[in-house]
Each structure stands twice: as C-alpha cells, then as structure tokens.
C-alpha cells in the first residue's frame, strides 16, 4: 500500500486488538498442544485455555459456557444452526422456514439450499426503515414452520431488530429461533438469559478478534438439538468435529472479554464520531440515509449520494477504505440487495457508501472523510448531466428517454 487509507470498514472486518494479539501469540509459540490430547500437558494447557475462552464468550452474552460451540466463523455457525436445527426438527415440526430478505448470504444461501432439499421458505421484506413489521412476521408463521432466522444487527445498514419481540412470537408458536449476531457483539448488550433465542451465531473478527473463529450458542433450557454438519473426532460434544485452533479461540475469548468491559464507553465515543460524520455529510445536498437511525448501532452510517455514479464514487474516495454493499458481495457490481429490499432505486443503491466506525477511528479521520466526500461529490456532480437537470428543476423520474 502506498499510503494507508483511513479505515472506515469495521463492519467488514476489524483489526485484531493488540491486547488480543498479545494473548494469542504464546499459543502459537509455546503452548501448541492439541486440546483433544488428553495424555500430556501440551494438550491440557490448550484445553484449559479453550475453556477459559469459552467462559469469556459466554459471559458477554450471559449464557452458560456449555451452550457455546466453537466454529470456524459466523458463516459456519449460520450453516450449522439452520441446517442442523431444520433437519433435526423437520419430522416433528415441519419443513417451513422464515427469514428476512436482508439477512447475510450465509443465511439466505443456506435456506435456499434447504429449499432444494424439500423445505419451503418465506423471505420477509423489511419496512423502508430496514426493520420488520411484527404483524407481518406473525402472519408468515404456518403450522409447519420449523425455524425462523433473523439477524440482530444488519451488516449493511446497522439497524437492530427487535429480537425479543420476534422471539416471543416464535416461542408462542413453537418455532425454533436463530439469530445471526455476527455484527452485534460488543455493540449491543445481549442477555441470553432473558432473550427468547434458541440459537445465536457469533464471529470473532468483527469484534477485534482473529479471523477463522466463531461460535454458535445452543440453548440448554429448554434444550435445543441440532444435527451436526461437520463429522469426525466428535469434538464439541459431537456438535462440531475438527481440531480446535487454540490460538484463535484464545483470541476470541480475549476479544469478547474486552468487548464486555469496554462496550459502554466505546459506544459513547463512537456515537459522537458517527454523529459528527452524519452532520458533516448531511450538509451535502441530496443525500439519503439508508435504514432508520433510531434503532441502529452507533458504528454504522449508510448513505446514498444522489446524482453520483456508484463506481466513480468508489474510485474517487480511495483515501478512505469503505464499502459499497457488503464486503462479501462487493466483488460483484450488482446493487446491494439489502438496499433494494428497503425500496431504494438501483441508482441510489449503487451510489451508497457504508461507513463503519470502530475502536481506532479518530475525530481527525472523520473530519478528513467529510472534507473528502464534499470535495469529490462536488466534482463528480459537476460532470453529471443528471445533476445539471436536477439543478434546472427537471424531475428526472418523469423524463421519457429516447431509445437509440
């Protein structure tokens, strides 16, 4: 990299916190045992570290450590929860699944695969706010609904779904409830003792931990059963086989400990930065905030800039590292399916930027970003005939374009 751009893409991935890295490194160098080796201290040291980390993960979400199953990341957690529960309960509860059109691909594609295997699915459209209408959710439940999957925090627009209310509806109808919380840990308080959630997916690398490690919460009371997807040595009480990456687990534990202890202070600081960014960008004409602001994590700001072409916008703001659409799909040029589900036009979806602020963002970073956006959007609009037409008071949506 020539000159490091300012990183405002914390929802794609976070850097590993230096405290997390420091805790991980000894498990890469001295304590390298296989935690499943029961016959020598190399294995015991590793096992103890794994169990300490499990406690830290459980503590952040107020769960029992025995309810935490390690996985290689939230993608695997989502695959395991949805395939595992749907297959286990299909014969007793039925084969209908409810999810939301704005879920992460790891949920959507897993549900689609289950459709190919004979399940049916309802993909609920969110309201223009990005949130679900609870009545519509309730109406979607059928006698054969086995599972519902709704994310806690949306990765693109940062809105927080009312998991408690949705969970209560699921409980009342005997529907297993899975929540993808990959974007939520360390950002919103999660209390699984109170929340009516059966399965919850976590990721480390969105919360200043390492990549390649995640976890699935599997409720014990009332006990939820899942069919294992990864088979082998029978690790994780048979729910997930495979040698555990001790250093990564240790890293996730430490990252979640820091999240628990610092979340409140950090959120307050980040909220100030976000509000500063918001105020700065709103001074630009014709900007649209995607998703509602009230029920949203303070870290996220997703804005569409009208009369700017999406790709040229991304090229123009190379001084900052941001994302248009979610990182996982940003290799494709399709407009974000999440923004389209909110009812945004393709043009506005295309010209959207997700700014995600994090632990190491400074006020200077925010000010630089505001100045950069103001300058670049001004320049791009100068070149835009559409902007000129808009300035002249022409309603572009009513223009009849001639075909050539």
């Amino acid at each position: 990299m020539d000159r490091d751009p300012i990183y405002l893409d914390y929802s794609a991935t976070t850097p590993v916190d230096p405290r997390v890295a420091a805790k991980m490194i000894p498990y890469l160098t001295e304590h390298y045992g296989n935690p499943a080796s029961r016959s020598h201290p190399y294995g015991w040291t590793a096992e103890k570290a794994v169990e300490n980390a499990r406690e830290e993960v459980a503590k952040l979400v107020n769960a029992d450590p025995r309810e935490i199953v390690w996985t290689s990341g939230a993608t695997e957690s989502n695959n395991l929860a949805i395939k595992g529960a749907a297959n286990f309960y299909a014969s007793t509860k039925g084969k209908h699944i409810i999810t939301v059109a704005t879920e992460h691909k790891a949920v959507i594609d897993t549900v689609r695969e289950l459709e190919r295997q004979g399940f049916t699915a309802t993909y609920l459209e969110p309201e223009p706010t990005g949130l679900l209408d609870l009545e519509k959710f309730k109406a979607a439940i059928r006698p054969d609904t086995v599972l519902a999957s709704v994310m806690l925090v949306n990765n693109e627009i940062g809105v927080i779904h009312d998991i408690e209310a949705i969970g209560n509806i699921c409980r009342a109808h005997g529907v297993i409830f899975h929540v993808d919380a990959a974007q939520a840990t360390g950002k919103v308080a999660i209390d699984l003792e109170k929340l009516p959630v059966d399965l919850m997916s976590f990721s480390a690398h969105k919360t200043y931990g390492p990549k390649g490690i995640g976890a699935l919460y599997v409720r014990r009371k009332p006990r939820i059963r899942i069919e294992a997807q990864m088979h082998g040595g029978g690790h994780e009480r048979g729910m997930r086989s495979g040698t555990l990456a001790t250093h990564q687990i240790v890293g996730m534990g430490e990252a979640f400990r820091i999240a628990r202890e610092e979340m409140e202070m950090e959120n307050a600081r980040i909220r100030k930065l976000r509000d500063r960014l918001l105020a700065g960008l709103q001074s630009i004409e014709e900007t649209y905030i995607n998703g509602e602001l009230e029920h949203r994590i303070p870290h996220n700001l997703n804005i569409s800039f009208n009369y700017v072409e999406g790709e040229s916008l991304i090229m123009a703001v190379k001084g900052i590292a941001v994302s248009s659409g979610s990182a996982c799909t940003s290799a494709s040029l399709e407009p974000s399916y999440v923004l389209r589900a909110l009812g945004r036009s393709d043009e506005l979806a295309h010209s959207s930027i997700r700014f995600s602020i994090g632990r190491f963002t400074t006020e200077a970073d925010v000010d630089y970003t505001i100045a950069l956006l103001k300058e670049k959007i001004g320049k791009l609009r100068e070149l835009s005939p559409l902007w000129e037409m808009y300035q002249d008071g022409i309603d572009i949506s009513k223009v009849q374009w001639a075909a050539h």
Binding site: D9, S37, S39, G73, D109, G212, Q229, A245, C328
Partner: protein, 381 residues
Amino acid sequence: MSHVYFDHNATTALDSRVLKAMLPFLTTQQGNATSRHAYGRFARDAIETAREQVAKAVGAYPSQVVFTASGTEANNFAVTGMTAKQPNTQIAISAIEHPCVTRPAEIMQSRGWKLAKIGVNHQCELDFEQLENALRVPTSLVSVMLANNETGAIQNIAGVAELARKNGAYVHTDAVQAFGKIDVNFEALNVHAMTISSHKIHGPQGAGALILDKRVDIAPFMLGGGQEKGLRSGTENVAAIVGFGMACELAIEKLHEHTLHTQSLRQQLENGLQALNATIFSNHATRLPNTSFFAFHNIEGETLVMALDKKGFAVASGSACSSDSTEPSHVLLAMGIAPDLARGAIRVSFDASNTVEQVSAFLTILKQELKRLQQMVAMAA
C-alpha cells in the same frame, strides 16, 4: 514445558519462520479479503501467494487449491460434496480412515447410500481384491487415506485411483498425515481430490485445503458469501492461510533431509523396542519415516502413556481425537490385532527437531517404567 515432544502426528509446533510470516496479519490493520479497497486487496494478494505455495508443494495448480478451516472440514466437504450431485449409489472407503471420512460416509449410508468398508491386512495394507470386488457395484466415490495416522502405513493411492477411475468413480485421498513427511504429488496420485492440513506441517491450526480437480461436479459444504469461487464461503482466515502457505514452502524445502533424520531415529527406537519384546505394528509395510506404533503384552497403553508423561515424554496412545476413549484403536482391530494387545498400543511420532539423545533417554525411561508396571501386574495377578 521441559517435555520431550514425540507426538508430531497429533499436532506440530509452529515454525518460527511461519509465525514471522503470519504476525503482520495479526498485528497490523487488515482488511477483509473480499473488500475492494487497499486493505482488502492486500489480504487478497497474501492469500493468492499462499495458494501458489500450497499448490507448488503438492504438485498442483493454484486454481486447484480450495482453502478450508481444517483437514476435518476438507474431508467432510469431499465426502458429502463429491457425492451430492450423484445418484444414490455406493461410497467405498477403507476400514482405517479417520472419523472425519468415516462419519460423513456413514451418514450418507443412513440416507440410503451403500457403504463399502475395504479391509486391510495384518500390516495395514489395503486389500485390493476386496476393493475390486466392491467396485463391481456402481460407485460414486472411493476415499482411501494416503498414510494412516496411527501406524503410518502408506497406501498405493495411484493403484486405488486407477481402479476407481476404471469403474467411473471419483477418488479422494486424505493426505493429512502424509503431507510434509513424504513426497506428495497430486498429479502423480491421479486422484480427483486430496485433503491436506496446516497444523500437521508446522503451520498454524485453522487452515486446511482440498486440492480439487475442477472437473469434479462438487457441491459446496459451507454456503454464504461465495468465497473460494463459491466452493467455500466464509471470511478467509488470512493469517492462518499465509502461515499455511509458508509452512508448505518450508515442508518441501528439506523434506529429504528430514526423512532421513526421522527414519534413523525410528530405527534407533525400534532397535530398542525389539530388545524389550515390543510388538511393532506395520513394520513390514511401507510406512511414514517418523511414525512407530507398538505395544507390550499385558501393559495398558493409557497407563504407560501417563507414566511416560510424568517422566517428561509426550507420546500418544492412539489418535488424539479419540484419546478420550478407552476403546482399542479401530485401525488395529481392522488389521486383525487382538483387542487385548491393541489396548496396549503407543504411538511415537518424531519430527526433525528430535534427537538421538532424546530417543536414548526415552528408551532408558521406557525400560524402567515397563519393569515397574510389569511388577505391579504380577503382584495383582
């Protein structure tokens, strides 16, 4: 820990050069490899370099390397993915596979597939006649491991592949234990898919790969963001993949030298074991150079492992994954070893860092401990 580590088939220490390659990816700002900004591209480039290192080490093309989170995942992916798009026919595996091949195959069996478990002889060598007979039935997949994790016995995979291909079946090999210990060449083995793992070759835990002939019609195991050309979704574990790549490069660099070294340590060990009347398993088969699997009559393997541990030697009583259980090794039972003797089994697995002095010290302690345990057995009788 001042222990002497003789359990390298379970997991290996991270090479310091591997750690050095990984550290920037743990300590400085990193992007998500799917992101298009500079941070993302930096991560992407690192992954592609690692892909080339892995490919080169196993005689494959970079485009044939699909990164996974572990060997277990790659084996599950191979068994379920390579059969997913085939009509329900038969899967043939050997009786000595790792559970992460056996279990998914058994689950396919519960879904209506036929499952043939091909036996091995007393030396842990695959029974080709049995395989040939099994393949008379339409078969979609044959999966046989290259080297066994317990005995170290090496199978004739090119021969298995020839038979499988002749009968129109896909062929997969689990090369997790073999890779890094002997020369492993994807093209020469002539298989459609091959599993390797990072933490067995002084790389980090958390990375593995399925080397895959892209002509295979395979269904992805992990669904989502479409990483690895749609074959393995999930944010790439950049640090582990970078480490895996470096470990691959180092693994082939001094392979021959390391082979000679561990082989001579094993010879020294087994000379000593023979003097103590040990039964050495698979000692007439082609074996991994570093592995010795043996037992003493009337001595419980688990007890001896604990006793040796107290004296500072880390060895295994079977494969680590199952060292929880006191069931005798399924590999030894498949070889026709009596359960009583099988329960006594101990595995020593060396790497290049082990020394002649360590082996001598081990033999001295082993002799003492055996004497003590035999006296206890005699008193109890």
